[in-house]
């Protein structure tokens, strides 16, 4: 956008992040949630499967892999690089690690960012600090984008850190079964770097609009939940598609999501006005 004051955007974002860092009652449960999805559940599931070996249950789970799309099945190794056949437990663990946990990378950042974003503008109003921002030289667009960044960064950062931890866990537990470290796969990189960010941006553009318009943080949280739930489901299905798909599909899907994100953000940027920061806009 022309004439954007990036210093102001970053100043607003940094100050919001600093306040978030001080809010132990917020980040502690969020960190716990990230740990739960990225570390605890994968560790238990993958370790259980690889440790119990090729008993009937694992065989049954392994057979369900047959319903996966051909592109996905092709990714599951049948023999290691040293020519040893991969066990059914190894193939199952691989499928779980690469395909089953994909939604985790979507649910965690969307949940965290939505929680932050929902209170970010209405919170200024409730605390009375909206008055300070309204009288300041900061532009409404800069305030909006600063708030967007401050909401997006915690969610995305959690994903990046969680993704790193998840990669180590997967490679450590499943790697020996399939002939070495294999994670992240190319599709996971695409999902984390190309597909997830626009979905986050779309979700936050809606959540911030709500935050600017509602009367209270509680109302913002409730409304944001309604908005973000369908988006989480869409992101879930799309991310799975990205992992199953091959060729240009993930790239096209990401491009479509980015286009939608830009349109949503362009519309959302108008939601922050000085009268809304003051809480005196029509309809408030």
């Amino acid at each position: 956008m022309p004439g954007l004051n990036t210093t102001q955007i970053w100043t607003v974002a940094r100050t919001d992040l600093k306040q978030l860092a001080q809010a132990r009652d917020f980040w502690f449960p969020m960190t716990l949630m990230g740990s739960f999805f990225f570390v605890i559940i994968p560790t238990i599931l993958l370790f259980t499967i690889t440790a119990i070996g090729d008993i009937a249950v694992v065989d049954q789970v392994a057979q369900t892999l047959d319903v996966l799309p051909a592109g996905a099945q092709d990714q599951i190794p049948e023999i290691t690089s040293s020519g040893v056949e991969v066990t059914p437990a190894g193939r199952t663990a691989y499928a779980l690690a690469v395909f089953l946990f994909a939604p985790v990378a979507v649910i965690v950042p969307l949940t965290i960012s939505t929680a932050v974003g929902a209170s970010t503008i209405v919170g200024e109003r409730e605390r009375g600090t909206g008055e300070f921002l309204a009288h300041s030289p900061a532009g409404a667009r800069e305030i909006y984008l600063g708030k967007l960044l401050a909401s997006l960064i915690p969610g995305y950062l959690t994903t990046v850190v969680g993704f790193g931890a998840y990669s180590i866990i997967v490679n450590t537990i499943v790697g020996p079964e399939v002939g070495g470290w294999f994670f992240p796969t190319a599709q996971w990189w695409l999902m984390i770097a190309w597909v997830l960010p626009p979905f986050l941006a779309i979700c936050l553009s809606l959540v911030l609009r709500l935050s600017a318009k509602v009367r209270s943080t509680a109302a913002a949280q409730q409304a944001s939940g309604l908005v973000s739930l369908p988006l989480i489901m869409i992101a879930y299905s799309q991310s799975t598609g990205v992992l199953f798909g091959a060729g240009y599909l993930p790239l096209v899907l990401g491009a479509v999501a980015w286009t939608a994100a830009v349109l949503f953000l362009a519309r959302g940027v108008r939601s922050v006005t000085r009268s809304r920061l003051l809480g005196v806009a029509a309809g408030m």
Binding site: K18, T129, E131, F132, H135, P137, A138, R274, A282
Partner: protein, 343 residues
């Protein structure tokens, strides 16, 4: 108020016939405010008079539905708004501070938004402002743990960080103990001596007394009158008055009929006499003494801001009623005159 002149030189704020509504509530109606450069102008009025809305209009945080607002000769609701806001320092009725941040971080945030950056000059400005309001010792603490007085001082420090030309102070002593309030008022006086212009809102007449170079009396979102207190006293309390005290009741019964006396309000041993001229006072006293009165004190009555305020309110009573907001308005009329100085 008198018909305003446009683009008057030396005016920092020039609001003319501004109107602003919020739904069915008429917050401002035909508001005119003119703030001369280097002055302390006080917006006086009861709660709900529209003082805060007026401040918000001056910074461009809110635009008028009708009428105009010019600040530094610029329209604050236009693209010039950023420049206007950069040249203003605002202290809101609530301190508007970030409780989870330290005092230092609150000031740093403001310094960055107002373009001071994060370098040595910003650090120096923060230290200087905090020192001016004696809050530098608490800058490392979270603001949530500050007392009300500390928060007000931090908000004041924040407002002058960027060396603004115009200070807008909305009830700056609200919630302060008398000593802290006096200290804040002294600091405000100091700031104009440094060349700044101050526009302050208050509903405390005592606070405005002695501080205001100019006052604007507001009610129901409109400006009833504005100008220098001395000029307003001349206009609304033109007759001279003398307070006369005696040793006994009944000594002043002859006062209303004496030459030179327009009227007299006798309360026991004291009377407030309206006279045609202060030159007539010696003759009036002589006649009272000759009648047997034992005079203990004679003093000319100099109207204070409270007298002026209520004289204006009395004078404008009918026009106030005409301007009264509809029944669903949240604005409340001020009570009639009392000895209290809180409106």
């Amino acid at each position: 108020m008198d018909a305003p002149s446009s683009d008057q030189p030396g005016l920092i704020v020039d609001v003319q016939s501004a109107y602003r509504s919020f739904g069915h509530v008429h917050a401002l109606r035909d508001l005119t405010i003119r703030v001369p450069q280097g002055s302390i102008t006080v917006l006086l009025g009861p709660n709900g008079a529209g003082k805060t809305t007026a401040i918000r209009m001056i910074t461009g945080a809110l635009g008028p539905d009708a009428g105009t607002a010019r600040v530094f000769g610029l329209d604050p609701t236009s693209r010039d708004g950023e420049e206007v806001r950069r040249r203003c320092g605002v202290v809101s009725a609530k301190p508007s501070l970030y409780d989870r941040l330290s005092g230092w971080d609150n000031l740093r945030y403001s310094a960055e938004l107002y373009g001071l950056g994060r370098g040595d000059s910003a650090t120096s400005a923060i230290r200087s402002a905090a020192s001016k309001f004696a809050i530098e010792h608490a800058l490392d603490q979270e603001v949530g743990g500050y007392s009300t007085g500390m928060k007000t001082r931090l908000a004041l420090a924040r407002s002058i960080l960027h060396d603004p030309e115009l200070l807008l102070l909305d009830e700056p002593t609200s919630g302060l103990d008398p000593e802290s309030a006096l200290a804040v008022l002294d600091l405000i006086r100091d700031m104009t001596s440094e060349g700044r212009t101050v526009l302050m809102c208050t509903h405390l007449l005592l606070e405005a007394e002695g501080l205001a170079d100019e006052v604007v009396i507001m009610q129901h979102g409109t400006s009833l009158e504005g100008g220098r207190p001395s000029a307003l006293a001349e206009k609304y309390l033109p007759t001279k008055r003398v307070r006369i005290s005696t040793t006994m009741e009944g000594h002043l019964t002859a006062l209303p009929g004496l030459p030179g006396v327009i009227s007299a309000d006798i309360q026991g041993r004291t009377a407030m006499a309206e006279v045609r001229s202060l030159d007539a006072v010696p003759d009036i006293i002589n006649r009272l003494v000759n009648n047997g009165a034992m005079i203990t004190a004679v003093s000319p009555f100099v109207p204070n801001l409270e007298d002026i305020y209520f004289a204006i309110r009395r004078s404008k009573g009918s026009s106030i009623d005409e301007l009264a907001p509809p029944e669903d308005s949240t604005a409340r009329p001020a009570r009639t005159r009392s000895t209290e100085t809180v409106l």
